[in-house]
């Protein structure tokens, strides 16, 4: 039977467990940073992505299923996801919609590298919705802005971001390219 509390600290046995009985550990941020420095950015991203997948699964479990997540409103989905991110200590989450693009904002993130946060969000959405998604950290100050897109679109957005293109410009370019492709498809 699932516990109503998302995290339970069993002091007698020295275990930290989720409401579903999954074990957790509490690690300091310095250990994550040292992992990123020693194992590399890819290993750190993979580590953060795993944390996000766990968060997404819990969210989907709370919402009943993957279809429940897909059919949920934006507000309910953002509220459930933000709760899971906050319980894990990864900051405050919100969402923006730029046209057809979905941008997840994470404020007060424990890590400085936005790519690690992007991997966390990527794993959470993929696990909650049951679809492959890729997160791209966009340029800009303040909270980390994570663009959720397909693999191909994410690759182009990373190139533009590496070139110094701003997040809004990247989104604008993606919309223009998609409209042209849509027009070509309609002609065919």
């Amino acid at each position: 039977m699932a516990d109503s509390h998302p995290v339970r600290f069993d002091l007698a046995t020295g275990q930290v467990k989720t409401g579903d009985g999954e074990r957790l550990i509490v690690i300091p941020l310095s250990a994550l940073d040292e992992l990123a420095e020693t194992a590399g950015v890819a290993a750190a991203n993979r580590f953060a992505r795993g944390i996000g997948v766990a968060i997404g699964r819990r969210l989907a479990q709370k919402m009943g299923s993957i279809d429940g997540v897909r059919m949920a409103t934006l507000e309910s989905f953002v509220s459930g996801l933000a709760l899971e991110i906050a319980l894990a200590g990864w900051g405050s989450l919100s969402m923006e919609r730029w046209g057809r693009a979905m941008v997840v904002l994470v404020d007060h993130a424990p890590v400085k590298q936005p790519g690690i946060v992007a991997a966390l969000v990527e794993g959470a959405i993929e696990a909650a919705a049951g679809r492959e998604a890729h997160g791209v950290a966009l340029e800009g100050g303040g909270p980390a802005r994570i663009l959720v897109a397909s693999e191909k679109t994410a690759a182009r957005a990373r190139v533009w971001t590496a070139e110094g293109v701003s997040g809004s410009e990247v989104i604008a370019r993606l919309h223009s390219g998609s409209e042209a492709a849509t027009n070509e498809r309609s002609r065919v």
Partner: protein, 266 residues
């Protein structure tokens, strides 16, 4: 001796002199000049025994003593000498200060008495010297005419007139060169009475500028030309060239699944 007595004596002497002057003169034919006794021997004139003193008359260098006509005639010579003596005595009397004339009752020399009477009555006799040198009348230097006056015309004949006579071309009358310009003589500073207000250096008071209103056309001509674009817009009175039908599609996902599908299709 009072004045009346002196005048009476002088009148008596004058009467005698007049008598002697009216009478004929006698000469002794070149002998020693002597006056012939007229009446009696008591009245015989005697030449003054006083030594003749030279006159203290300074003569100019270029002057000569007047020739004595009396030297040619012995008779006249005596007379002239007497006159000279008388003249000198008279001049001495004039030169001397007006002292009381010592007139004694005694007989005085006729010549002296004559001189005294001449000096008193007759017109003044002055010893004058005659100069051979033509008399030069000194005149005051001609003052230079002021600069504004007309210049004097030169009177020298021109060379053309001397050479050709009347056939010489007529030219306007020559004029002497104009006076040289020089420094203006400043007025004496004593005569000047400057006051602080009239020294010429004083602050200028702002003058009231008269504002004249020009006409609009004149103002436009005077004002610098400023280029400004005058836009003329077209007035479309006909129907609009395009017609908007419907509304632009607005993506507003209602579920998370729709938004996820849209963002993954970018």
């Amino acid at each position: 001796v009072n004045v009346r007595e002196r005048i009476a004596k002088l009148e008596a002497i004058l009467a005698r002199v007049a008598e002697r002057a009216a009478g004929p003169r006698e000469t002794n034919g070149g002998g020693v000049a002597a006056h012939a006794p007229v009446d009696d021997g008591a009245e015989e004139p005697v030449i003054s025994t006083e030594p003749v003193t030279p006159l203290d008359v300074e003569l100019a260098e270029q002057t000569e003593e007047a020739p004595m006509v009396a030297e040619a005639l012995p008779a006249v010579e005596v007379e002239s000498r007497e006159r000279i003596i008388a003249a000198s005595a008279a001049q001495r009397a004039e030169d001397r200060e007006p002292e009381p004339v010592p007139i004694s009752v005694d007989e005085r020399p006729a010549a002296a008495r004559t001189a005294e009477t001449d000096a008193a009555d007759a017109p003044e006799i002055t010893v004058s010297t005659v100069s051979d040198v033509p008399e030069v009348i000194e005149t005051a230097e001609d003052e230079e005419p002021p600069a504004s006056s007309r210049r004097p015309i030169a009177l020298e004949p021109k060379l053309e007139e001397l050479a050709f006579g009347e056939a010489a071309p007529v030219e306007p009358g020559p004029h002497t060169p104009p006076p040289e310009s020089g420094r203006q003589v400043a007025a004496a500073p004593v005569d000047l009475d400057f006051e602080g207000e009239f020294t010429g250096v004083r602050p200028r008071e702002p003058e009231a500028v008269a504002v004249t209103v020009l006409e609009a056309s004149a103002a436009k001509e005077a004002a610098p030309a400023v280029l400004a674009a005058e836009a003329t817009g077209a007035k479309l009175s006909g129907p609009a060239p395009v017609i908007f039908e419907g509304s632009a599609p607005v993506f507003k996902p209602s579920t998370f699944g729709e938004l996820l599908d849209a963002t993954l299709t970018l």
